[in-house]
């Protein structure tokens, strides 16, 4: 009240239509680079349909966690507890899945995750606890709860589950493929096996993304544009985002800020939970430690995506790709070294033209180093491959984080009627 520090309310993030064309250009460049590296390094796994279908399966859980993070942070609540909510989701999916099949698994996972979100909301919104603190506590708690529930429900029983895992999920969700192109005559498959430069690469990618898709994965994919519509095209979304940008202003306009944050965290938790369910489907069983930090990766993907649905999808895709590649072919990961080296050569040229010689020099050194590494190393140790996605996150963030903008009131404690 006494502090006249009221910042002008930031305009609801204007969409940059100019960026649209550039994104396609970047995607096209990446595709051509991949094809070139595939051909030069003769690592067909780089653009094979199996890699890309694995990428989709691995990226979607991360994407769901990231989407969960998006809802929370757009409403102004930092959600480090995504990992914990995801753990709760995996447990719920395993428990409901073995009894009533995959669709029940998704619903149970969403409910379990939402309970985690509710806890986060009670702590941060009602009691005003620091968001990171509450999130960390939820992560610790969720791990304990999952193990505890397993001990109570599965241990000693004859269901086939144990202290660290559930019985297998009953049945599979139906899968769909693109008619003609990816199934039946499988034209894309034929094209892929020809190994024509660019053409068969494109065919491999398309076929990987369109064949044998589980309807649940399709549902999850559709949630991304749906979230965009909900957040940027509806009154509900506008109010939710107002809570993340300037809750004081939102309150003065009659937005029920506390309730909006509760909604956001319930959605956030259930999305993270669904992400957990999707992980359970990959293995067809709940296993302890199945999330393996993917909740955190989801958070990173969201930040990487500049708190936007499209961006976080790209981030999730990137991590999914790195993950899929290391699963499909460890040797192919070395191909990525060449790819990054080429990109860094591009950065060198670009920075030199901008006159930033120091940055150009650093990029050049790394490019040469990676190129030499690619020439000399046949296969990276599997432990290095394991953290490729995390290293990528770190590199991308250190290159790009200054251009990112988070919601203005993200992570701040908001008390109704009190000054900032």
């Amino acid at each position: 009240m006494t502090l006249a520090l009221e910042k002008p309310a930031p305009a609801p993030t204007a969409k940059t239509r100019t960026g649209r064309g550039r994104i396609w250009l970047i995607l096209a460049v990446i595709f051509v680079l991949l094809a070139v590296v595939r051909a030069v390094a003769s690592q067909p796994a780089l653009t094979s349909s199996s890699t890309f279908s694995a990428m989709l399966i691995l990226a979607v859980p991360i994407g769901m966690a990231a989407l969960g993070g998006l809802f929370a942070e757009r409403a102004g609540v930092v959600n480090i507890g995504l990992e914990g909510m995801m753990i709760l989701g995996t447990w719920g999916a395993g428990w409901a899945g073995y009894q009533w099949g995959p669709f029940a698994a998704v619903i149970a996972a969403a409910i379990f995750g939402a309970l985690g979100g509710l806890l986060h909301a009670v702590a941060t919104v009602t009691f005003g606890v620091d968001h990171i603190v509450s999130g960390v506590a939820i992560n610790i708690l969720a791990e304990g709860i999952a193990r505890f529930l397993s001990e109570v429900v599965y241990a000693g029983g004859d269901s086939g589950g144990g202290v660290t895992q559930s019985p297998p999920i009953k049945g599979d969700a139906p899968t769909l493929s693109l008619p003609l192109l990816s199934s039946g005559p499988d034209l894309l498959g034929d094209l892929e096996s020809t190994r024509w430069f660019l053409l068969s690469d494109a065919a491999g990618i398309l076929r990987g993304l369109t064949s044998g898709l589980s309807v649940i994965v399709i549902f999850a994919l559709l949630l991304i544009p749906f979230s965009w519509w909900l957040l940027w095209r509806t009154a509900f979304g506008l109010r939710l985002r107002a809570c993340g940008e300037n809750p004081w202003a939102a309150d003065s306009l009659g937005v029920p800020v506390y309730r909006m944050k509760y909604f956001a965290l319930l959605i956030s938790g259930s999305l993270a939970g669904i992400g957990g369910a999707l992980l359970v489907f990959v293995a067809n069983i709940y296993r302890e430690g199945q999330t393996g930090g993917r909740g955190f990766i989801g958070l990173a993907a969201m930040i990487f995506g500049n708190w936007r649905p499209g961006g976080l999808a790209a981030g999730a895709g990137l991590f999914g790709y790195a993950d899929a590649l290391q699963l499909r072919s460890q040797a192919a990961v070395t191909g990525l070294l060449l790819l990054v080296a080429i990109v860094l050569v591009g950065v060198t040229v670009w920075q030199t033209r901008k006159g930033k010689l120091v940055q150009a020099g650093i990029a050049a050194v790394f490019a040469v180093g990676l190129f030499l590494l690619w020439l000399t190393v046949d296969q990276l140790p599997s432990e290095f491959v394991f953290f490729t996605p995390h290293l990528t996150t770190l590199l991308v963030l250190s290159l790009a984080s200054q251009r990112l903008r988070m919601p203005a009131a993200d992570g701040l404690r908001y008390r109704r009627g009190e000054d900032k």
């Binding site: 606890v129 939820i138 610790i140 955190f296 432990e383 953290f387 250190s398 000054d419």
Partner: protein
């Protein structure tokens, strides 16, 4: 009067939180059809003779020492609003490097031990420093970078363990570094306990208890009695004011991360030099994350952190006996998680009551209105 009230409130909050957590845990145990009183009995049952009681004390202390160090490491960052979530990775990497250096050379015992400690602290500091540097030069949130560095550190440690630093023969079941030579081991304190007329526990009480206490005292002095500690707190409470009074905020971030990482490097050492003598796949994990909880319990105060660590050690000790009594041992984790949540919520409520009271008493004095104080306490949480 006011001071008494404030102190009372500060102590009352955690006490109420513990009671609430106990009630919630009791309901959880009831819900699975077990008797909470049995669980309580197992928690406080240290055995009927003095040897087994001392054994329980030793187990609790041995668990509390690393937790205390982890809590200290986390609290340094928390004091200035920096979240070092990467303590886990920092101590794992530091411990394996220290274990390797400790086997690579043989020096007189004090020098050897000092070398191990210095290496561990340096590795921890470097790893945490990366996050600090990324934050000040590239604006990367330390929360994300330390989480990513955790994964990278754990990957690196497992590469080093299975590759260059492996001390066990190929094909053997255990994967570990070579055992430290005699000069790299820190004798336990059982002899000291015996000379004090106490019964000797079966397990050796870690000798690292003493360095840990020294570190705790040093950290307490550093954060409470030195310019650095004041700057640390000031830049956490109000970065703008701190900068205006000549504190280099960027340098403080890096320094705080380095110090936090150096302390994190110590976490694995009590086990390494006092019990296992090697780093292997079985080495205690998860201490970094528990350290966050312990720091929260202790409200970033070294003495409070010691209490938090002892509480966690006390709960962890009971895990096995609970299992024997037919109660899932994970009840302990649930109790711990509930305590942490209850304590942070209680602290928050207590803080708000304190503000309310200050506002009421200060209503006549317009200058005393703690508008900025609100935000301060947030960061200090």
């Amino acid at each position: 009067m006011n001071v008494v009230r404030r102190v009372g409130l500060a102590l009352l909050a955690p006490a109420i939180a513990l009671v609430v957590a106990a009630i919630i845990s009791a309901f959880v145990i009831l819900a699975i059809g077990e008797d909470p009183l049995v669980a309580l009995r197992e928690l406080v049952n240290f055995g009927d003779n003095s040897a087994s009681q001392m054994q329980a004390v030793a187990v609790i202390l041995n668990r509390a020492i690393p937790l205390f160090l982890a809590g200290l490491a986390v609290s340094i960052g928390f004091r200035m609003g920096l979240f070092n979530i990467g303590v886990e990775g920092q101590y794992r990497l530091a411990t394996i490097m220290a274990a390797w250096v400790g086997t690579a050379v043989v020096l007189p015992r004090p020098v050897q031990l000092l070398l191990i400690i210095v290496v561990a602290m340096a590795v921890g500091a470097i790893w945490a420093g990366i996050a600090g540097i990324l934050k000040v030069t590239r604006g990367v949130s330390e929360v994300i970078s330390t989480i990513m560095l955790n994964f990278i550190a754990i990957g690196l440690a497992s590469y080093l363990l299975t590759g260059p630093f492996r001390g066990t023969p190929e094909g053997s079941l255990t994967v570990a570094t070579e055992d430290l030579p005699e000069s790299g081991r820190l004798p336990g304190l059982n002899g000291v306990m015996a000379s004090l007329g106490l019964a000797e526990p079966r397990s050796e009480l870690y000798g690292f208890l003493i360095p840990a206490i020294v570190v705790g005292v040093l950290v307490a002095i550093l954060v409470k009695r030195t310019r650095f500690g004041f700057d640390l707190k000031a830049s956490g409470l109000n970065p703008t004011a701190a900068t205006a009074s000549g504190v280099n905020a960027r340098a403080m971030v890096v320094k705080a991360m380095l110090l936090s990482g150096a302390l994190a490097g110590l976490i694995g050492l009590p086990d390494l030099v006092g019990d296992t003598y090697h780093y292997g796949t079985e080495f205690t994990s998860g201490l970094g994350f528990l350290g966050i909880a312990v720091a929260l319990l202790g409200r970033n105060n070294p003495l409070g952190i010691a209490f938090g660590a002892l509480l966690f050690g006390f709960l962890d000790r009971a895990a096995l006996s609970l299992q024997f009594a037919g109660i899932p041992s994970q009840v302990v984790t649930i109790i711990q998680g509930t305590i942490v949540l209850a304590v942070v919520i209680a602290n928050e409520v207590a803080r708000r009551i304190a503000i309310r009271q200050a506002e009421r008493t200060g209503a006549n004095l317009p200058t005393a209105r703690p508008v900025a104080g609100e935000q301060q306490a947030t960061v200090a949480q």
